[in-house]
């Protein structure tokens, strides 16, 4: 930009500033300019998006309920040796009686009762019943009096739980999300078989997402090849058949599949109409895994076709012709020459579809039934469903997000985020 002249042994601009410095300044200015341009969006996303997510996920480990609501108890219980096999001593019972009386007065006892009941069934009614009577116990012996109110205070699991959860942080939600729990001896082990569910659900989510990705690939490959090799004009025309579903509302497409697949829907009525099946035994095509797989494959298919197409478009047709002229059969030429060139597209489309599939919520919620719902549906139900457990929802969310981000990282390494193409 500025004229340089040689003065002594350093290059200087016309203003006499050393060239190196001037360049650095110019570079700094353009850097600053770039950063300032990006900053508004960065700040915007930080406040509206990133911070809320971190804040929510923090609930998976943050747990101050026991410390906040039973402050005396958590101090007194320090002295109790949980390995002794004995009940805590009189001071602990005195502390919990006072904490309960205060918690009842402040209307906070219900919170700690609900928290403890996640892990020790019966804690809810135990605290409710004892809390009601606690204000009347004004002098010792506290242990005797409390045990008289309810003998479940003898349950060592409960005292172990209080001692374990007295801090500000907890591992309980992550353990629950991995189908694990603390054993009576304080070690970590699996939950009883009939209560294990989340590992199975993650497995199902990954398996269904993988299956949907493979189905998308199988359907997308021939179509993308056709689109990429057709003359531009007819290729563009057929492309509309891919873009229209891509631009059509998710709910519209899900509604269509409900109309098609339900027992009284189009496909079943057609099959009954042509006499292939009896009116009495219509096929169950929806509200199960089949429904989820079909609808999600349809919805995600364009996300596979578009990246594949854009890669295939760049492969010169002369490659195939060269292979043929060298004596390869059409099949060999296709497998040995063409397919290796499309690996980048397969990777891009595959990862994208997989990432989108494992986080799906709406479609499985509407067509998934008992066997076709995914982990997202459980996270939603723990946040606002009939049994709420926000800590567990956050822990499941962290695990889901970790998988997604790992794949996103992989995508960035393989494809490069810059190369993401839309429509």
């Amino acid at each position: 930009m500025a004229q340089a002249e040689i003065t002594g042994d350093t290059m200087r601009t016309a203003d006499g500033v050393p060239l190196k410095l001037a360049l650095e300044r110019a570079l700094f200015r353009s850097r600053l300019r770039a950063v300032m341009l990006v900053l508004p969006l960065f700040a915007f996303l930080l406040v509206t998006f990133v911070l809320p997510i971190f804040d929510m996920l923090f609930r998976s480990v943050e747990d101050q309920i026991v410390a906040d609501i039973l402050p005396r108890t958590v101090v007194a219980i320090e002295a109790w040796d949980e390995t002794s096999g004995d009940l805590p001593g009189e001071p602990v019972f005195e502390a919990i009686v006072k904490d309960m009386a205060e918690g009842r007065k402040n209307k906070t006892l219900g919170r700690v009762a609900r928290r403890l009941n996640y892990e020790v069934s019966g804690a809810a009614s135990l605290f409710r019943k004892s809390g009601r009577k606690a204000p009347k116990i004004t002098q010792g012996p506290y242990r005797e009096k409390l045990l008289k109110i309810d003998k479940r205070w003898k349950n060592l699991d409960l005292w172990n739980l209080i001692k374990r959860e007295k801090g500000d942080f907890t591992a309980s939600f992550f353990l629950a999300a991995a189908d694990m729990q603390y054993q009576p001896d304080g070690s970590i082990g699996m939950r009883p078989e009939n209560r294990q569910i989340y590992v199975h659900l993650f497995g199902r989510t990954l398996w269904l997402s993988g299956l949907i990705t493979v189905l998308c690939l199988l359907l997308a490959y021939p179509v993308s090849y056709l689109l990429a090799t057709l003359p531009l004009r007819s290729g563009n025309l057929l492309m509309i058949l891919v873009l229209l579903p891509f631009w059509t509302s998710l709910l519209v497409r899900t509604t269509s599949w409900i109309a098609l697949l339900q027992t009284q829907g189009v496909i079943n009525s057609f099959l009954v109409g042509i006499g292939l099946i009896d009116d009495g035994d219509r096929l169950q095509l929806i509200h199960n895994q089949f429904g989820t797989i079909v609808a999600m494959t349809h919805i995600l298919l364009p996300f596979m076709i578009l990246p594949l197409y854009s890669v295939m478009k760049t492969i010169p047709p002369s490659y195939m012709r060269a292979a043929r002229s060298l004596g390869a059969t059409p099949f060999t030429a296709f497998v040995k020459v063409y397919m290796p060139n499309t690996v980048a597209g397969v990777g891009a489309g595959g990862i994208l579809v997989f990432i989108l599939a494992i986080g799906y919520y709406i479609t499985p919620a509407l067509v998934g039934g008992r066997t076709g719902t995914l982990i997202s549906n459980f996270i939603a139900s723990f946040i606002s469903g009939s049994t709420q457990n926000w800590g567990l929802a956050a822990a499941l969310g962290v695990m889901l997000l970790a998988i997604v981000l790992a794949l996103y990282f992989l995508y960035d390494k393989i494809v490069g985020i810059d190369n993401m193409k839309l429509g």
Binding site: L51, F54, D55, F58, E62, N106, K107, T108, L109, G110, R111, A113, R114, N117, Y118, S121, G122, A123, A124, S125, R128, R132, N194, R195, Q196, I197, H200, L201, R204, Q262, T263, Q264, H287, G369, R370, T371, F378, I383, S384, G385, S386, T387, Q388, N389
Partner: protein, 368 residues
């Protein structure tokens, strides 16, 4: 983390709080939507707004997420709701966690026409479920069964055991996607006397027995999550029988003339009513509304639009004919002696203790 976020957001709060108009009072009432909100609108809100033109009542149909959203609002110290419609079990939880206001019913609620105080006029115990003092019960509803009269092959099902009998009544059933209610019914179908159900459920063997019974029909069940689904599934012929709220079945039968019959055996009674969110900005207005909205006539009026029994004894004789159809509503009430031969009351305390554990087991059972 939370405190930090809280303080940075204060400025935003202040900016947006200004936008609320100060002219008239907007009251946001949260309820279940559909026919139920409509019945409240016609019986309570419309007459109240006619008498108080400065009050505007906005219906928010979020009761299905009522407890979750209320908890989030109270935790955030930013309550935007004024009354929330809840079932008794959720109201107990909300009250014990300090999410809702406590009150003295005789002070807050209107007397019966004969000057009986509210505490004596409401169904015994309904004002204090689980020994709480936060609940304003409006209706008694029941969860019971409806069946397709044209799909049961001539003999209508009469007992809860028929629901679990695939040989006698082949075809799909719809049940609610949660353990509450289904566990009890499975045990009764398995031969446990209704009065002993919770005793049996207190033992691990009892729970195993209930799941074993549910196993026998698992593959023939469509699980519903919203009250409007089961009548729809019945109307579409997707299922032969379905558990549902009795008012929803009534409207399918009487208003839409669907070929649906009622199976009242071991219907489960529950209450539905208001709670006042702690921290509502319009407490005085809400109290004024409640004095009017929960009086004897208003509760009886609601039963003209939907077949749920009023929660006040003095309202019961005033229940008359359906406002539009003109049919006598009494035989459609779950509390009618002909319908209430065998009934079950939810044991809220039992479920509060075992909900977390059994939901997990139920979900695991469903997923496999």
């Amino acid at each position: 983390m939370k405190r930090l976020l809280g303080s940075t957001s204060l400025a935003l709060v202040a900016a947006f709080a200004m936008t609320a108009s100060a002219q008239a009072v907007d009251l946001t009432f949260v309820s279940w939507g559909g026919a139920y909100t409509a019945s409240q609108q016609k019986a309570y809100h419309d007459p109240y707004m006619a008498a108080n033109p400065d009050v505007k009542i906005i219906n928010d149909d979020s009761s299905a997420e009522g407890l979750a959203k209320l908890r989030a609002q109270v935790e955030a110290g930013n309550v935007t709701w004024d009354l929330v419609d809840m079932v008794a079990a959720d109201a107990i939880t909300a009250c014990e966690e300090g999410l809702v206001e406590e009150f003295d019913p005789d002070e807050l609620l209107a007397m019966a026409p004969d000057n009986t105080p509210a505490s004596k006029d409401f169904i015994p115990g309904s004002l204090n479920p689980g020994d709480t003092n936060c609940y304003i019960p409006l209706i008694v509803y029941s969860t019971t069964f409806g069946f397709r009269t044209d799909m049961v092959g001539g003999t209508a099902p009469t007992t809860i055991a028929d629901v679990f009998d695939l040989k006698k009544y082949p075809g799909k059933r719809a049940l609610e996607k949660k353990p509450i209610g289904n566990i009890e019914w499975a045990l009764i179908a398995d031969g446990v006397p209704g009065e002993k159900v919770y005793e049996v459920m207190d033992t691990p063997e009892g729970i195993d027995r209930a799941f074993a019974r549910l196993d026998t029909i698992k593959d023939s069940v469509i699980w519903w999550t919203k009250g409007a689904q089961p009548p729809q599934l019945l109307a579409d012929g997707e299922v032969v029988m379905a558990s549902a709220y009795n008012g929803r079945l009534f409207s399918a039968i009487a208003e839409k003339n669907q070929p649906i019959g009622m199976l009242w055996d071991w219907q489960v009674f529950d209450l539905d009513g208001w709670v006042i969110p702690k921290g509502t900005k319009n407490l005085a207005e809400v109290k004024k509304y409640l004095k009017f909205g929960t009086d004897t006539q208003r509760l009886a009026d609601q039963a003209k639009f939907i077949s749920y029994g009023p929660a006040r004894a003095s309202s019961a004789p005033l229940v008359g004919n359906h406002a539009e159809l003109g049919i006598d509503m009494k035989p459609h009430m779950p509390t009618d002696p002909n319908n209430a031969k065998t009934t079950l009351n939810f044991d809220y305390v039992w479920w509060a203790d075992h909900r977390a554990e059994l939901d997990e087991r139920f979900n695991a059972w469903l997923a496999k």
